[in-house]
């Protein structure tokens, strides 16, 4: 997709400011600074060179040192008064600040002292720059990993190393496996590690709060082709179809569980269809929303959940009878 004119304008104005503050900068360095290709920088400089104040005689134009430019080094000699950096718009400042806070709240445990200090100072400076606008948005997304796990995952991602994980799944079964970490994915609810799992030879999402232990291995990660939607849960075609009819107050089930279909009913209640691969996962879900369950199909699910609940009540023994 072609770049928007406004984005290019912003970068060209930014370049004047930057080049005014840094005398003689190699093209490649400018490219790195603004996150574009060297060719794009050359094209931007060529455009800057022919812009200026009306009249457009040589003395009206933004100008660079031609001899230096031949050597691939950009030296600004005339800025036409355009050196002031641009103020951040309220929404720009808030969006970036919120992202920084999200980073802070999810990544902080994974950083060493030096990185942590850099993050803090960036946060301070941006909060000041955003001014009053900073108050519009309040972000607190915790990375729910144990600190040692967070550190190991961060180190492996940074250095491109394989990880050995001890992982407990939703059925409370613990496994050991080697994975090639790809990235962290945080949604509204939780944080996941997207990784290539060598046990199943495919990409998998691991809930970081279920990673019991993580060890950084010496082996480097291998190259893997990952589907673009790998970070999304896809309810597969396999598994038993189970329908829950729930009261409205259990709406979060439809919002945070990979459901196949949701039907809103006139009385405010709703039905969700789920594909269930692991009975333990379904049992957990139904126990959690027991208060809100109006019906379950097939009926066998209710029988199993009720049996599990009675077994649990029995385990409480006298503690269960304590209150009426």
């Amino acid at each position: 997709m072609a770049e928007r004119a406004s984005d290019r304008l912003l970068r060209m104005l930014g370049m004047i400011t930057y080049l005014d503050r840094h005398a003689g900068v190699p093209v490649e360095e400018i490219a790195e600074q603004f996150g574009v290709t060297a060719d794009q920088v050359l094209s931007d400089i060529d455009t800057l060179w022919v812009t200026g104040t009306p009249g457009y005689f040589p003395h009206d134009l933004i100008d660079f040192d031609a001899a230096s430019y031949e050597q691939g080094v950009v030296r600004l000699t005339e800025s036409r008064g355009m050196t002031r950096p641009l103020r951040l718009g309220a929404r720009e400042a808030v969006a970036l600040l919120a992202a920084l806070r999200a980073l802070d709240s999810s990544l902080r445990p994974a950083l060493d002292a030096e990185q942590s200090a850099v993050l803090s100072s960036a946060l301070d400076k941006l909060t000041t720059a955003a001014g009053d606008a900073a108050a519009a948005l309040d972000v607190r997304l915790g990375l729910d990993a144990a600190p040692e796990v967070a550190t190991a995952v961060a180190t492996a991602l940074r250095n491109g190393r394989r990880l050995h994980l001890r992982y407990v799944d939703a059925s409370d079964v613990t496994t050991e496996r080697d994975v090639d970490p790809l990235r962290l994915v945080t949604d509204d609810e939780r944080s996941y590690l997207l990784a290539w799992c060598r046990l199943v030879d495919g990409e998998r999402l691991f809930r970081v709060d279920r990673i019991l232990a993580a060890q950084v291995l010496d082996a480097p990660v291998a190259d893997h082709t990952v589907a673009p939607d790998a970070a999304e849960f896809q309810p597969g075609p396999d598994g038993e179809l189970v329908t829950l009819h729930l009261r409205s107050s259990a709406r979060w089930v439809a919002e945070s569980t990979p459901v196949e279909a949701v039907r809103n009913l006139d009385d405010g209640s709703f039905e969700v269809d789920l594909r269930v691969l692991r009975p333990a996962w379904l049992r957990h879900l139904v126990l959690q929303v027991a208060d809100e369950v109006l019906d379950v199909r097939p009926a066998r699910v209710a029988t199993e959940v009720a049996a599990a609940a009675r077994a649990a009540l029995a385990a409480y023994g006298p503690l269960a009878d304590e209150e009426g």
């Binding site: 406004s6 103020r87 951040l88 309040d138 609810e189 409205s248 199909r297 009926a299 009720a306 409480y316």
Partner: protein, 344 residues
């Protein structure tokens, strides 16, 4: 015929002209002298081009000021006040810029991404020269934001502008249009929230963005309401504040509840002495005592109930009662549900 001047170049010429003009430039002067506008084939085309360019510049934070000349009646001129658009002095180290570049990748939402990348471009202009940074991509969390509602809501909070949207209430399931004075947006585990005053109820309310149906519309003029008194805002935000951490005491079957065990802590000083309680002897006979930190009763109860008989909550009583309540309800599910009325 010379090749047409690209829009970015025309915009740049306009900015430079309006910053450098001694007093102001009229539309006619812009059309006649600023490179790029001569391409407009008609008066109408020029008008549209100029209006669009002014909007673009305003969006980028470079407001074009309108200046009327007392001597010339309705003769309107334009200029840009460089002081007004300037960023307050801000120097960023290469490391800080690296962190910001990483933050710019956080949002998966298109409109928030556009905003963050613009902010980043502006900050790169004042940042130190790049150097390799330790904080690299892949480490950055990607956050799925609350859909298309965030952009308009941020604008509305900023401008103190009233918003209107269709909302599905959680407790009743009722779907109704709400008119809200937006105060603040919160991102929390569990979703995005808008806190503001519901105009119909004339009371503070919280709205989950995931339950907003359709688009959020801004209605009326900016500055339509006063910011809430600090006390009222604080009490509206109170439910979303983080609760102090407490520690629960659990009796867990061997090898079970791995995720809960993973975050176990040593017994705190004020933990109940469960081993010497004779009533608990039977419960503890084949179980480990595990101490787990938590903040919300219901959150921990919902997690632990899923382990069934593998976990018995010993303390605090509030969490135990919450789990027992869920278990008692669930224990009757085979009688209270009918399995779709077919085979119950």
């Amino acid at each position: 015929m010379p090749p047409a001047i690209p829009p970015a170049e025309r915009l740049l010429n306009l900015v430079i002209a309006l910053v450098n003009t001694s007093g102001r430039m009229t539309k006619e002067q812009v059309r006649a002298s600023v490179a790029g506008y001569q391409d407009a084939p008609s008066d109408d085309a020029f008008e549209r081009m100029f209006e669009r360019d002014k909007d673009t510049l305003r969006e980028l934070g470079i407001p074009v000021l309108t200046v009327t000349d007392a001597g010339h009646g309705d003769d309107i001129g334009y200029r840009i006040d460089a002081e007004q658009y300037a960023l307050a002095p801000l120097d960023l180290t290469a490391g800080e810029l690296g962190v910001l570049a990483m933050a710019a990748q956080v949002w998966q939402d298109q409109s928030l991404r556009a905003d963050t990348s613009r902010a980043l471009t502006k900050l790169r202009a004042v940042g130190a020269a790049p150097q390799s940074t330790d904080l690299v991509a892949g480490l950055a969390p990607r956050v799925r934001s609350g859909g298309g509602a965030i952009g308009p809501l941020l604008d509305a909070v900023q401008a103190r502008q009233v918003v209107r949207f269709v909302y599905r209430a959680a407790n009743t399931g009722e779907v109704r249009e709400r008119t809200v004075e937006p105060w603040k947006l919160l991102a929390r585990r569990g979703g995005w929230l808008l806190v503001g005053r519901d105009r119909e109820r004339d009371a503070p309310r919280s709205f989950r963005l995931s339950r907003v149906e359709g688009t959020v519309r801004l209605v009326g003029a900016p500055g339509a309401f006063e910011p809430p008194p600090a006390e009222e805002l604080a009490s509206a935000l109170h439910p979303w504040e983080e609760r102090p951490e407490r520690v629960a005491t659990l009796a867990v079957l061997p090898e079970r509840a791995g995720a809960a065990r993973a975050r176990a802590v040593p017994a705190p000083d004020d933990a109940p002495d469960v081993r010497s309680d004779p009533r608990l002897a039977a419960v503890l006979a084949h179980r480990d005592v595990v101490h787990v930190p938590f903040r919300l009763d219901w959150e921990l109860a919902e997690e632990l109930v899923g382990y069934g008989d593998a976990v018995v909550v010993l303390d605090p009583p509030s969490v135990r009662h919450a789990v027992l309540h869920l278990l008692r309800t669930a224990a009757t599910l085979d009688r209270t549900t009918v399995g779709g009325g077919t085979d119950g």
